[in-house]
Amino acid sequence: MSATLPDSAPAAPAAPGEEAPERRVRSAPLFLSAPAALLFVALVLTPLFLTALLSFNQFDYATGRTGGFTLEHYLSVLTDEYYLEIFFRTFRISALATAICVVIGVPEAYILSRMGNPWRSVFLLVILAPLLVSVVVRAFGWSMLLGPEGPVNGALIALGIGRMKLLYTEGTVVVALVHVMLPFMVIPVWTSLQKLDPAVEQAALSFGASRGTAIVRVVAPQILPGILSGSLIVFGLSASAFAIPGLLGGRRLKMVATVVYDQYLSDLNWPMGAAVAVILLAANLIIMLTYHRVVEGHYRRRLG
């Protein structure tokens, strides 16, 4: 907008002195966003760039030295069954966790938005509370709860069902991820519910729609953008989660982030770890952008 301003008024010849404030106004946004941009470049782009560079280095197992240029790591990751399975497992678990977060988080946000004031604040705090506790602590909490001697297995034995292997299974990882990620779904959905005109839902009711019909036909389509951003956050964070699969998945049930960790710290094969990390980033980007396109295409024209 501001860039076209000088062109649209060519008839008024600007005095030399008048040009300076115009310039200053136009450079103000650049100037103001500089601190954040610098931080972003220093803390995000630089490590990312270095990681990408590292992933093309050769690795010498005998000496542990790195250097030169090779595509070998990428080739071996993309052709090795072992790595592919870990990638598929990661995305399967993340997708499942995201879906469960939608199923639990959206109604939760709706109920929250309908609550009266003292309760709404209390429950919002309850929902946000998990964020105040370290992921590691929460993961240990789950492992104590689900361990062979934990209260859940104790209850199963008491009920006569018998001991079950709960820890180190995909199900446990999914449950723990949902527990950690739920606030990231509830908050964006709640925000978009806040923006809704309550009269719109009332209008649906006035035409004789049942409460359920009103929610499905009128409320849900309007909060789609919130659900979309919530699922992108949850999926992205789940796919790169480290502590939960590391502590609850154990040695056998690996996910991509734990493999990267192993490559760096056990095998000391940094270039390989870097290659896996870059592939994860690329795959994540592709999946999320596709999802965004598909969902956004549905509401773009209607909701603007």
Binding site: S206, F207, G208, T213
Partner: protein, 363 residues
């Protein structure tokens, strides 16, 4: 037994009484308007009939059935919301069709009915648009079509025409009246606009600060306002403070700044403080020598079919409206006389209230 009946309806929000002790009976097929200044509780009253606001006290009966606590989606009313409340993710067509869908009207029958409703509000070419692609007035008409299409027994309209231009508004008023006459829909309409309330309503309910102050036919509200507030709120009026000078059986004379004015109101006592209300169009300009009052033209405004004069005289500034009959108007600064027939003077007992700020909201 009336069709829609509100009995002592009250709504309190904490210490604020938004609606206090409102009782109103609406006959089947009647068109009633709620008229009042902003914030006087019109929307709240309508929302209680609709079932979106629960009354703190009182009962609402519809067709003999107590619906005070009935669910909103069981009342079957057609509602136009003040904020329109269109479904933003549906096209205009789907918006209008939604109510029919909820009534399980077969698909084949829905289409012609939606099209008919859209053509009624002059929106046929916009059927495929989304609400955000429409102007404010167009959205308002979609809201109207959406409420009309389901042919409800009762229509609740919250300022349904407030965003339309004068011509379209008149056309829509005519349509509303037509539908109401043809189908016999009982209608309760909220409006700020007294001209609108007067032109299409059978009865007008004037509200002030959450209470009903007068329920009457439009003509009677205008000619016989029961309170000074109403005479100020409804139309323009001259309020002249005075004291009763003499009183006979059927009438009295009131002294206004030393000028004796005859009025037709029984029961006044000598020395009582009163306020006279005279509508500007009831005053006539004459030669200074013939007038009951004299003054000078301070200002004059051309209103098209009428002239509005401000006359400065012994009582302050008095407004006079005369029809524009094509003859030359009185000049600015010219001395004029004012005359009127005693029967047009309304007398309110007591002194004039302070600051007529509520009246300023309505033009």
């Amino acid at each position: 037994m009336s069709f829609l009946e509100l009995k002592n309806i009250t709504k309190r929000y904490g210490p604020l009484t938004a609606v206090g002790d409102v009782s109103l009976s609406v006959e089947k097929g009647e068109f009633v308007s709620l008229l009042g200044p902003s914030g006087c509780g019109k929307t709240t009253t309508l929302q209680m009939i609709a079932g979106f606001v629960e009354p703190s006290a009182g009962t609402i009966r519809l067709d003999g059935r107590d619906i005070t606590r009935a669910k909103a989606n069981s009342r079957g009313l057609g509602i136009v919301f003040q904020s329109y409340a269109l479904f933003p993710h549906m096209t205009v067509f789907d918006n209008v069709s939604f109510g029919l869908e909820m009534q399980r009207v077969p698909k084949g029958e829905r289409k012609p009915r939606v099209e008919e409703a859209l053509s009624l509000v002059h929106l046929s070419p916009y059927a495929k648009r989304y609400p955000r692609e429409l102007s404010g007035g167009q959205r308002q008409r979609v809201a109207l079509a959406r409420a009309l299409v389901i042919r409800p027994p009762v229509l609740l309209l919250d300022e349904p025409l407030s965003n339309l231009d004068a011509k379209l508004r008149e056309a829509m008023q005519f349509e509303l009246r037509e539908i109401q006459r043809k189908v016999g829909t009982t209608t309760v309409m909220v409006t700020h606009d007294q001209a609108e309330a007067f032109s299409i309503s059978d009865r007008v309910v004037v509200m002030e600060a959450g209470r009903i102050t007068q329920i009457d036919q439009p003509y009677r509200i205008y000619e016989h306002p029961e309170t000074e507030f109403i005479s100020r709120f409804v139309g323009k009026t001259n309020l002249l403070p005075g004291k009763v000078a003499t009183a006979t059986g059927a009438g009295a004379t009131v002294s206004l700044a030393g000028i004796a004015v005859p009025v037709e109101m029984p029961g006044l006592s000598v020395g009582e403080t009163v306020t006279l209300c005279i509508r500007p169009e009831k005053l006539r300009l004459t030669q200074p020598s013939n007038g009951l009052l004299t003054g000078r033209v301070a200002d004059r405004f051309f209103l098209g079919s009428q002239w509005l004069y401000h006359i400065d005289g012994p009582l302050g500034t008095v407004m006079v409206v005369t029809p524009n009959d094509g003859s030359a108007p009185a000049d600015q600064g010219a001395p004029v006389g004012l005359e009127w027939t005693p029967s047009v003077v309304r007398v309110h007992r007591g002194a004039m209230a302070e600051a007529p700020d509520v009246a300023l909201e309505v033009t």
